[in-house]
Assembly symmetry: D2
Homo-oligomer: 386 residues x 4
């Protein structure tokens, strides 16, 4: 019997980190053949090209698709998705996968979902059913309605996917595969095993990290994109004020990314950020190790909600981006306002690590998902359950 | 105060017929400005170009978008959607509508939904919440998850949209606007007021219609597209056998359309269809008048489920296309099999007209929808209700 | 040393026939690796899908690209080209060819030329420098200006390419590769070795071919596309009138193709064509054998100008499509007018075969081109020679 | 008689500056109606959005087209062109222009040329026939082969276009419209009438300009794009060394732009550029005034070859970008090498202004071109002249 061909489409650096253990598990599975498609911002330098890490990690790439349209507005997001559909159709037509896997809810993942479902290729969706209260939510639930199999990350997510009219027989709480990596990191990292300045370069000051440090990662929020500059400035002011060793990560490509990036760049020119170092990107595992040893994470990254819950790292979650996502005890939510951010940082440092939570999984998601991909009946025909 | 700009995107002839009264009501509304966008197969001759009727009906067209990719496979449907997004984004960027309206569930309507929702333009969806059990259902419910306002056609549909997690305050059972036209036809057509052969040409025999006649309209079913030729042949055999005056309508463009069309063409060459006339297309109103005076409608068109319920015309509904749609007492469901089709035709003729049902509306949908478009708060930010 | 990767893009059935010997020669060449890309109408059934022949002939296909936009207007031609560029860029990005080869002058070949030249991949053009006086000419000469190597089919073509400012060191009169096949046919076909009705089906009468027969192949002319129906009717009238056994071939996809196709279909319905059989398509070699044994070819196909010169088959060339192309003694040019066509047919039958001409090559083009592709310096940087 | 509709497609800031007087002349002409289409990098902020200037100058925009694909490689240039064709076809289909005008030779202008010529819309090309010896040359001459009217900028260009097989009756040496503006500036600017730091912001030092200053504008060279960083560093070193007041302009979007931009950014971080100010962009007229009062222009901009010839400003032209373009006595050509650049700067300052040359026009191009657009016969059918 020939092996099932599983096409996984990676469109951004964080998605790659998130599903790396799924890719490994597919690759190792005797009945599966991995067809890895790398597209969108995962190919672009200025957002920290994921493709380099992918190749370094030893995954063969079946096809690359450049489809990010440039522009400082939302039109570009729509067009990027349109081009993605056009090109992924050709890719699927040539690769002939048995199942296509799409990850999470970035706008351009819709291209994967539409191409596969329109071509009657069974579609698996990783990380449906979550709630955030932004444009990602439209995308995420729409993809649920296009997908045939659902590998969700929490019980709450599972319930929601079933309420959305999906057949419960095809909704699986595997936990989030990002926790697989968090588990490995948690179990094996007594100390930070690399020097981030040496390994990743970056720009800015090089504060001493031995007494603890902050990590910042703040993305623009799609439906507030005209405010992204203002929002980032609030965080910059707060960080400037607390003046602790800080490692700051640039945002992903997105409508509004330029607001955030411009904001950071302008602030740097006008202020002396003598305790802040900026990184463009970092391998997922190294980033988790960095978090594991940090005092807290600040911003609006889903890493704070997810991996940090497992790691027990305190998180200052700013603004609406992770709005309604299920969260563990490690998260403090604050508005876009300087004082509350400063207070939350002080609190986090004072309290220190919190108890590990398996709300987003127990670290075996990759293997479980691969096994399901090997066993599930191939199907692309479904109907709403009510 | 300036009028709200309402962009309605029409992508196929039947969609135009369905929402014609909405377009009129928008055009007449003092607070609204209609921006009519005509795209996809609505522009193509070989499927009965809707654009001619639109212009004849006096609607000004704000933009035309050719985006149908040619091909006898499902890849073409995906690509058509991708091109649609790419181009509709530009159209919306130039027209700057306050609300975008998308109709029903054809695959390419997803392009309208994605372009609008990604560009933060409030999206209204007409005819969500229905159940059919085919690929259209994936599209339909995915669009529900992208839309901000829902104008549904029945109570069942309304319940489903709310179950899908939508805010009940923005789900309105306006009935289907196609019933508006059916109402007008029902109230004003004592006899068939035109000669279809003269007015619409077409090919084949010209049977005498004065003693009653059958109407056939059978589309390919997307997820069974390799069977579309076999399916159409069964119907052709049955019609050939009952040998009553029959008016047959060609199918719309769709993956598999070529199977259906080829089947009809081949059958015509090999058989003497002395009682069958073929039409490429017909204005919506004329088609309803034709149905109103027919013995029954045969095939899988949604017109049978919807307008015929109101008109009280018996319908032989073949196969899975309208699978789980709510239906009135006028519908007899049969499989793709010759004998059952023949028996159902005999039954329908014997019983005659059935009682009018308002299951899909009471004939005032157009005006209601326009009024809602004028009054609803403009919003594009939503979250799932559970 | 690794073999040079040569990507040849085939976009239509006639282009495939034309360069088949080039493909074979590349495949056989020890220093070359063939990357065959099949796109546009070469993939579509309704124009006689070339892809089936390609696979039957044993060529492996590296990528397929569906990019034909449907529409009865010239916009579709432009859009097909745009989509072609978008997708071929991805294909080239993934295949990483050392040289890209584009064939002749169909509108969509421009997509190949632009994708390759913009990506700094050396571009070889087969059949530049010819003159026809239609839109093809704009395309053909524009491609010459994008190409780095020119494999032309006649001395006249070579002179023109050099006059266009190209470096004479990279302009090679290899003859047309279609003559390679004509040579083989001419040397090996004492009698027609197959029954065309049995082998190719088709529709219409099945006239006896043993006493001679006519072959018709008439394409729409791009810049006269609104006249294509009128033009085809003139030819149909003439063929109807002379009433000799006739084998008629459907036209290729093209803006206006529908005018030609519709004209043929309508004429068939209204006339008794008891001596005419219609074919959708035929393998290149079989078609040449059919021509070799025919009385004459009628229409506007370039086969009449090119292969028939070598075969010595009389040709009635109608209208402007081959306007200024160099031609042998076998060609009689006539206008779109019934009487002259009838007279020319009578003359052709009376005179019989003419002397073979090598104006378009001596039958060794394929091997020569492959050898040049293996030897030429790789370059994509050029400047006009004056 | 209705006015002729002239669609001009502007895809970049410098193209807009170049043809501004043509746009004005069309707008003022009684028999013409201007349809201005703004696309590609002309819409993007990070390259100095031309669209703002266009609107400020009072031109109404008929359509905007976002089509720049993001990417640090040449694939993006090809794809940008493909998307441009797709979208411009729709734009032309909706605007129905009588003539389309395309400007110069940037890669994406090919999209305008293909969309128009494939749709049988007469195409006018401004600035064909020039020689530069880079990828632009492929584009430029290919567009000449697609265009129906040629408005060239010099006698040398006219000769070349005619040699390319174009009908001399449709090749007009109107001079370059950029000289129209240069003429106005030359005649009316006794002193620099604005403070560039105040009016345009920018970053870096603010050297005193009253004793003279240098202007630098260096673009990446498409077919050397991997070297663009190295090349820009040589210039940076030289400017750093001569240490005179310098105004530096960022490059346009282009494959390789990131190499140049990155090079500048990195150099700034590592060196003290106390005499250099950086501008993102400047209105065309202000830029010419700045040049008019400068000591010399350094880099590879065509402004140096063209407007500076008329203004009599010395130019240090670096590298291959303007390779074979006709030039006046004001130009000194140097290689990518620090010492020669430094020497040339010294020489330029010592010699001072040179005599004005009308090699690229006498300042009346805009009015002449508008008049030709009003009078030329509408045609889209041509054949090579040999």
């Amino acid at each position: 019997m020939s092996r099932r061909k599983i096409a996984v489409v990676i469109t951004a650096r964080p998605s790659y980190s998130r599903v790396k253990t799924v890719l490994s598990a597919i690759q190792k599975h005797a009945d599966l053949e991995l067809q890895l498609v790398v597209a969108a911002s995962a190919l672009l330098d200025r957002y920290g090209s994921a493709v380099n890490y992918i190749e370094k990690d030893g995954f063969a790439i079946a096809a690359k698709v450049f489809n990010v349209l440039e522009g400082e507005n939302l039109t570009a997001a729509a067009k990027t998705t349109g081009i993605g559909i056009l090109e992924l159709s050709t890719v699927f037509d040539n690769l002939k996968p048995d199942i296509v896997v799409t990850v999470a809810d970035r706008f351009e993942t819709m291209a994967t979902a539409i191409a596969a479902s329109y071509m009657n290729i069974p579609l698996a969706h990783i990380q449906g059913g979550e709630v955030t209260g932004n444009i990602d939510e439209k995308v995420r639930h729409a993809i649920t309605k296009l997908a045939d199999y659902h590998f969700v990350a929490s019980e709450g997510a599972k319930e929601r996917v079933v309420k959305l009219g999906e057949n419960p027989n095809f909704v699986f709480n595997t936990g989030c595969p990002s926790i697989d990596l968090a588990k490995e990191v948690k179990e094996n990292s007594a100390t930070l095993p690399f020097n981030p300045y040496e390994k990743y370069g970056g720009v800015g000051a090089k504060p001493d990290l031995s007494k603890g440090y902050l990590v910042v990662m703040q993305h623009p929020v799609t439906n507030e994109y005209q405010n992204s500059r203002k929002h980032i400035e609030v965080t910059l002011e707060a960080i400037c004020k607390v003046n602790l060793p800080t490692l700051w990560f640039w945002p992903n490509v997105d409508a509004g990314a330029d607001g955030t990036s411009t904001g950071i760049r302008a602030f740097r020119e006008q202020h002396d950020l003598s305790n802040v170092h900026f990184f463009k990107n970092m391998e997922g595992k190294d980033f988790l190790q960095l978090l594991q040893h940090s005092d807290c994470l600040i911003g609006n990254s889903s890493v704070g909600i997810r991996e940090c819950a497992y790691l027990g790292v305190p998180v200052i979650n700013i603004g609406s981006r992770q709005n309604r996502r299920d969260r563990g005890a490690n998260v403090m939510d604050v508005d876009y306002a300087q004082a509350p951010i400063e207070i939350a940082i002080a609190t986090a440092i004072q309290k220190g690590k919190v108890k590990s939570s398996s709300i987003y999984g127990n670290g075996k998601a990759g293997v479980q998902i691969a096994q399901l991909l090997a066993e599930l009946p191939l199907q692309f025909h479904k109907t709403i359950m009510y």
